[in-house]
């Protein structure tokens, strides 16, 4: 009954030697939400980027409503009726909301070379009103709005002209629950109007819930297209990974007694606008989880402990009474931290793997005269890169060449090398596929057994439940509840505390 909207035919794309998309063919129908899933690097973004003109096509074709399309950039794709909301931030600061919405389509408002700003603002205001985003003003500079609102502007930008296909590439991870609902609403609206959404997400329950059809890619190769109604999560995992994935990659133990020894206490910590009057203790050998909505302030907890948040008041004290107020002191006293913003705050992208691993340990590696020895550095970084099984040619390779998961491994290798006792992991498995996740969980478990204390901040409730001895839920910058490890714990009990 459903008509074909888009035919993907024998599509290929390589980046140098990486075959990102290999001979992929499938159909997308009208009036459906068509999910695209696969592990990291399986080619999802590459595929949709070709569809929307961001990447050029090596070979193969897209046939949209019977017509071959070859957009060269996003504007041309828009003209064909295809739009995209990209994984990263897609709005430009310095421009007004209206300018962002109509970027590349100004010609409609240009007469004799002069742009009619009023007409543009007026139309943008109408659109925003139609979408129910009245609080966003068309003539405002976009910088006045937060990430979430900017994503909403992107939704308007991508959908106002009723495109035949809207691609939504991992947008949900960036949004709060509220924003997600907003997005789902519009996905629905698009579907109802007979148009199509191509939806990319790593959140399998979300995929199952929101999509009609699911196409699975693996290593750039097309695997299958299934109806959401016919499959469950385990089926999808199997299709993605290519083998049976057992559900038990979290730690299996329950009821182990956590030591009473407090290694770190957070006392009355406040960061204006983010967290308010937070106090808790971390014990030796414990995995302490923090859960909550993205805006709940839980990400700031990690920074506050690591001395990386400004305007912090209150105290972060170690067992021996040392107060932690800045990063170097934190590192010196054996605290490690991996940020959610991996590319900016964790790895130095344009530097070698070796230097990245050695960076915090240089003081320890230097001899008495503060001299460093290349060989020693190389041995050191090699050892920990190997231990973390970083996929690399050698440690001289730049981190920017690595995939997301491998970057995360480099960060972990750095802190294992530093032999930190307190490890703060913010979203350690964000954007990482199942294999690497498993590795990371095993590592955390190992560290715990070795007496290290871990704080894990995560938006993924399942991993909190699976890994933590204790879970603290945050809401509006405050602690809103605490849960002990137990096999009975389920997501719902957490969610009720979060919202």
């Amino acid at each position: 009954m459903s008509e074909v909207r888009l035919q993907v035919k024998n599509l290929c794309k390589s980046f140098g030697i990486t075959k990102a998309v290999q001979n992929v063919s499938f159909n997308v129908n009208k009036g459906e939400v068509h999910a695209l899933i696969g592990e990291n690097g399986s080619g999802k973004s590459t595929l949709t980027n070709m569809l929307t003109g961001i990447y050029s096509i090596d070979s193969g074709t897209f046939v949209l409503d019977g017509k071959e399309i070859h957009p060269k950039n996003q504007v041309e794709a828009n003209e064909e009726g295809v739009s995209i909301i990209v994984q990263e931030l897609g709005t430009l600061s310095g421009l007004t909301v209206a300018e962002n919405i109509f970027l590349g389509h100004e010609d409609r408002f240009v007469h004799f070379g002069i742009k009619n700003t009023n007409a543009m603002n007026k139309e943008a205001t109408e659109l925003l009103h139609k979408y129910g985003f009245d609080r966003i003003k068309a003539s405002d500079i976009i910088d006045n709005y937060n990430f979430e609102d900017r994503k909403l502007v992107e939704i308007v930008k991508a959908t106002y002209f009723d495109p035949k296909i809207v691609v939504i590439d991992e947008t949900t991870t960036a949004l709060s629950q509220e924003g997600r609902e907003e997005l789902y609403k519009h996905m629905n609206r698009i579907r109802e109007s007979g148009n199509t959404v191509i939806f990319i997400s790593h959140d399998l329950p979300e995929i199952l819930d929101k999509s009609d059809t699911i196409t699975i890619l693996r290593d750039g190769v097309y695997i299958d297209t299934v109806k959401s109604a016919d499959v469950n999560e385990d089926d999808l995992k199997r299709l993605m990974v290519g083998r049976e994935v057992s559900g038990d990659y979290y730690r299996a133990d329950y009821g182990e007694k956590v030591s009473d020894e407090v290694v770190l206490s957070v006392k009355d910590v406040t960061v204006p606008g983010l967290i308010e009057d937070v106090s808790f203790d971390l014990h030796k050998g414990e995995i302490l989880g923090f859960g909550g909505l993205s805006e709940s302030g839980m990400h700031e907890i990690g920074k506050a402990i690591f001395g990386a948040s400004y305007d912090r008041t209150g105290k972060v004290v170690l067992a021996d009474g040392t107060e932690i107020n800045d990063i170097p002191t934190a590192i010196k006293h054996s605290i490690a931290y991996t940020s959610k913003d991996r590319d900016n705050e964790s790895v130095v992208l344009n530097q070698s793997i070796g230097d990245n691993i050695c960076l915090p340990s240089l003081d320890d590696l230097a001899n008495k005269a503060h001299m460093l020895n290349d060989k020693k550095l190389k041995e050191f970084s090699n050892k920990f890169a190997k231990q973390m099984s970083v996929k690399m040619v050698n440690v001289d390779q730049f981190v920017s060449d690595l995939s997301g998961g491998n970057k995360q491994k480099v960060v972990l290798a750095r802190w294992i090398g530093k032999d930190s006792d307190i490890v703060v992991l913010d979203s350690p498995t964000r954007g990482i596929d199942i294999k690497v996740k498993q590795d990371i969980y095993q590592l955390m478990n190992q560290m715990r057994k070795n007496g290290k204390s871990i704080i894990m901040i995560s938006e993924e409730l399942m991993e909190l439940i699976g890994m933590c001895d204790r879970i603290i839920i945050m809401k509006d910058g405050k602690l809103s509840g605490e849960l002990e490890r137990s096999p009975e714990l389920d997501e719902n009990s957490l969610i009720t505390m979060m919202v």
């Binding site: 041309e76 600061s93 310095g94 742009k115």
Partner: protein, 315 residues
Amino acid sequence: MGSKKLSGSTKGYLILLGLVVLSWGIFKVLSPHNFGSAANMLNYFQASLIATVGAVGFYFVMVMGMFDFSIGANIMLSAIVGCVFATKFNLGYVGLIAGCIICGAIVGVLNGIFYVKLRIPSMIVTTGLALIYESVANYIAGGVEQTLPANLRMFGQMPGDIILAVLACVAAYIFLNYTKIGTYTYAIGSNEFVAKNMGIDVNKYKVLAFILSGAFLGVMAILTISYGSSMVAVTGMASMSRNFVPTMGCFFGLAFKKYGMPLQAIVIGEFVINIIFFGFIALGAPTAIQDVITGLALLIIITLTTKVTKGEIVK
């Protein structure tokens, strides 16, 4: 109380006008006799126009995050070409205006194309090209100063200079606010990658920015040679000393970008610098100290308008 939420540009105007009043007030008190009459102020304003025009054009390049070290060489070359057109070829004002602006724009084209094609940082490319422009200017001038005769110096005084400068500023304002170029300039300055993905031909607009900037520097060249009446082609990068005044004006624009009024800030900012400059002259301060004052004033004003956010990355 009521003004708790002033709009950005109102705030910007208040700051700038405050600066005008403040600088005027201080020197008026210190040196009431020979400073700050209405006629004087008009003079100061006129004196500020030359650099303003260049700065306003250069802003397009600067906002995109690029830089240009050939400003001075461009002004010198354009002024000489314009003067040669006007006098040797007997083209009068048409020659002067067309010669300067077209030459400026051509220099802009070259800057842009070399930058885009060679993919070398603009700072470096323009340094190399400045050497070449100086040399070319010298070949054209042949070691003789190019003098604009008195009957061609309309743009060196009232009202010619004001008319030309106002026209130029209005043109810049229109380009920035009422054409695609303005939007794309900010888009590219904000994030080149995203801009490219949006279908903006980044390279084309970069070259366009250089051309615009070059043409405005050409206008600045008209004003410069009309004001001073002659231009000599210096070599050995001596033309670089002309870079800084327009560049400093641009810093004003950048500092006030967040208030949504960069061009206005350049105009008023250059005016303030000139008020201070002439204020010190009125006080009889040695000229050398005026450089100190200019540098310091700018630094302080930028410091005051820059919000210090901890942990922010500034290069």
